[in-house]
């Protein structure tokens, strides 16, 4: 029994939460269609779409040919002409094939046509390493798209946000790119029933702390929280911020936290150089939060290498819990 006004929550996996969001959207709004390779009878490369094709039919859950450029083009065109498509990539790596439609069309048309149109397309990208899928199926390219004005880019880390951000994306008049970490699909969490939206552009403080701020994205949030738990036993009190949205970035939440703690670690899976951590660090360095820094900023990101196939090397090229722990301890012990 729930108190009036408090939504019921259930434990769902991240993948189930996304499917529930799509189910709600398909049921409520006939303009919503799903598009992507093998999302129909097969249920999607990561089984996220599941059996939605049985419920809504092949008119609304549409298998597209093996051409990301073609599929994304159809989705952008459909959005321009009144539908609300959700386009699924099998792997975020294949965004590279569809860059023309994403970067030159979806992101630009509102501006080039003087605001006469908008492109309310949602694209979903299974991203990240850890599945043994090697160099062409394991990348974290969110910062690429985060660099493009006209797009919104989000990275939910919890089932609740996976659902809430997808529904918020559908409400948004402009293109929203959702990067879903493949290793999160099976993670579980409490998810409110029914329709709700998680605001795009708002970070979440997952753990409050005094001694340092760890800004993390996607699966790194879970790792940072593990680290914070270990640090707590050592008397180190880390604040963990889940960035959730990398375009726009929630500047205020990050800066306020750094003003409090005076120390900043950025953790993200994408390549460290020219990545999300660079943006966060520069944001702090350019603001008055700089005056509150007590030590240099530390970034932990992907290595300067394609993701290797060898499982041990695959782990070694992205930040792992011991790496974050070590960095946090060094920072707390005044070694940086």
């Amino acid at each position: 029994m729930n108190a009036p006004g408090v939504p019921e929550t259930r434990e769902l996996s991240y993948a189930q939460a996304i499917r529930e969001a799509m189910d709600i959207a398909l049921a409520e709004d006939e303009r919503v269609v799903l598009m992507g390779e093998d999302i129909g009878v097969y249920g999607g490369a990561f089984q996220v779409t599941g059996d939605l094709v049985e419920k809504y039919g092949t008119e609304r859950v549409i298998d597209t040919p093996i051409s990301e450029l073609g599929g994304a083009g159809v989705a952008v065109g459909a959005a321009l002409t009144g539908l609300r498509p959700i386009f699924e990539f099998q792997f975020s790596d294949f965004a590279t094939l569809a860059m023309e439609q994403i970067v030159n069309q979806a992101a630009k048309l509102r501006f080039m046509l003087g605001g006469a149109v908008s492109v309310p397309v949602v694209m979903r990208f299974p991203a990240g390493s850890g599945t043994g899928a090697a160099a062409q199926h394991s990348q974290s390219l969110e910062a690429w798209l985060g660099h493009v004005p006209g797009l919104k880019v989000v990275q939910p880390s919890t089932p609740e946000d996976a659902k809430g951000l997808l529904l918020a994306a559908l409400d948004d008049p402009d293109p929203v790119m959702i990067f879903e970490h493949k290793l999160l699909y099976k993670s579980k969490g409490r998810v409110p029933a029914g329709r709700y939206a998680t605001p795009i552009g708002k970070a979440a403080i997952r753990r409050e702390g005094r001694d340092m701020t760890i800004v993390a994205t996607s699966i790194m949030v879970l790792k940072a929280l593990e680290v914070a738990k270990t640090l707590e036993a050592e008397g180190i009190d880390a604040e963990v911020i889940d960035l959730r949205s990398i375009r726009p970035i929630d500047r205020n939440t990050v800066l306020a936290s750094v003003r409090r703690t005076g120390r900043l670690i950025c953790v993200y899976e994408g390549v460290k150089t020219l990545g999300i951590g660079a943006e966060i660090s520069a944001m702090v360095a350019e603001s008055d939060a700089f005056d509150f820094l007590e030590s240099p900023i530390v970034r932990l990101g992907g290595a300067e290498a394609p993701i290797p196939y060898n499982p041990e090397l695959e782990k070694a090229v992205v930040p792992q819990i011991p790496d974050i722990l070590d960095a946090a301890r060094r920072m707390a012990n005044g070694q940086v």
Binding site: A233, E234, G235, G262, F290, D291, F292, L293, E294, S295, R329, N333, G334, Q335, V336
Partner: protein, 418 residues
């Protein structure tokens, strides 16, 4: 511009250092971090590394005594024109003594000091500006001597309580090193109310390797300020250990020093190749609070003697002469006061208020524990909490001071590889 090589400050009361030997002749090239010269003070000898890469010129002769902070040589870039010795960038030693701001004073091969710029965190700069404090009067406790907001805060507090008091909780701990020895160094951490001298009898068995002794805060020649918690104490020791910049070390800790050895190994496991814990604190709540209290409060040999006897199994070791000598090291009222404060923090109501059994359980560092079964300060049975991988050496008819009571056995044990 050539880089100045200065006489580093290697211990707290060092004013001059003597150049014992140069490893590099004038005109030869060195790489940053190479051993450059040996110095000797009245207590220690040490090797100083090149602060930068370059070609060595204008060296001070061997045997010369040089004030700390003064140049002893210059390093030139290849092709740079070498004329007369450049004028020094350093402040004269006398001026430095008046306004103490030596960044990272204990670090060998410290970067040359510059007058206009020094390290301070943005937060410390802002705080100093708001409170109207000149940063060059604040001592930095951060990496490479960086002034942090805590240092400014300490400076303000020190000023408001006793105007003449030195900045507290700053400055590295007093460190002494043996001469000679090769291989993995031993780092010795003494117990509560003792000092580095308590290792003397054991050290003869360790001389084949470098031996480094650290005086704990509020002890010996380290600053007489009691850290406000075990965590702070451990963090001071960790910083001192980091400053040693060793590739790896075997840490030997007695009593409180044992608990601190565990704390260091817990966060620097790759830097610690072995641990010897002698009657370590932190493995159980019990401790002889009366004895600690008695030792802290004693102002005369007559009151100190009976308590010193509780430290050992055989009273006769504690002769009248020994007690008088021990009292002499405790003559400083500030030292006694600081240790009383520390005892209240670490052992309130005669209880060990910190627990290091967690680190002992999870540490993957070869470890041995040495304990006397007549220990009247900390019950030897705390040793039984160690997991099976830890070697236990339990001695009959030995008290809390095995390194003094059976120094030969303990020395040989420590010297035995784990």
């Amino acid at each position: 511009m050539p880089v100045e090589v200065i006489m580093p400050k290697v211990d707290m009361d060092m004013i001059v250092g003597k150049i014992m030997a140069w490893h590099v002749a004038p005109g030869e090239a060195v790489v940053k971090g190479d051993p450059l010269f040996d110095i000797e003070t009245d207590k220690a000898a040490m090797e100083v590394e090149a602060p930068a890469s370059g070609i060595l010129h204008h060296t001070v002769g061997e045997g010369a005594e040089v004030a700390i902070g003064q140049p002893v040589a210059w390093l030139y870039a290849p092709g740079e024109i070498v004329g007369d010795a450049p004028r020094t960038n350093s402040e004269p030693a006398a001026k430095m003594a008046k306004a103490p701001r030596p960044p990272a004073p204990e670090k060998a091969g410290a970067e040359p000091t510059t007058n206009d710029k020094f390290r301070a965190s943005p937060r410390a700069r802002k705080m100093a500006q708001q409170k109207g404090i000149a940063l060059d009067t604040v001592m930095g406790s951060g990496p490479r001597g960086r002034i942090q907001s805590m240092d400014v805060q300490d400076h303000i507090e020190a000023k408001s309580t006793t105007p003449a008091a030195p900045a507290k909780n700053t400055g590295a701990l007093h460190i002494t090193r043996s001469k000679g020895g090769n291989g993995i160094p031993f780092v010795l951490l003494h117990g509560f109310a003792a000092d580095a001298a308590s290792w003397a009898s054991v050290e003869t068995h360790l001389s084949h390797r470098p031996v480094i002794r650290i005086d704990l805060p509020a002890h010996g020649r380290s600053q007489l300020h009691a850290p406000p918690s075990f965590k702070d104490l451990a963090s001071r020791l960790r910083s001192a250990f980091d400053m040693l910049d060793l590739e790896t070390a075997h840490i030997v800790g007695h009593s409180l020093g044992g608990a601190l050895a565990l704390a260091i190994a817990d966060t620097r496991p790759r830097k610690v190749s072995g641990l010897t814990l002698i009657a370590p604190a932190g493995l159980g709540p019990d401790i002889n609070g009366d004895a600690l209290n008695g030792i802290c409060r004693a102002t005369r040999a007559e009151s100190l003697g009976p308590w010193l006897k509780t430290l050992v199994a055989d009273d006769k070791i504690v002769s009248d002469g020994y007690v008088r000598a021990a009292m002499q090291t405790r003559e400083n009222a500030d030292l006694r006061a600081a240790q009383r404060t520390l005892a209240d923090t670490l052992f309130p109501d005669g209880v060990q208020a910190f627990d290091m059994s967690g680190p002992l359980d999870r540490l993957d560092v070869p470890t041995r524990i040495i304990w006397g079964k007549q220990d009247r300060i900390i019950p030897w049975k705390h040793a039984l909490r160690a997991r099976g991988q830890v070697a236990l050496h339990l001695f009959e008819r030995v008290g809390h001071m095995p390194q003094i009571e059976i120094s030969e056995e303990v020395g040989k044990l420590i010297a035995t590889p784990l």
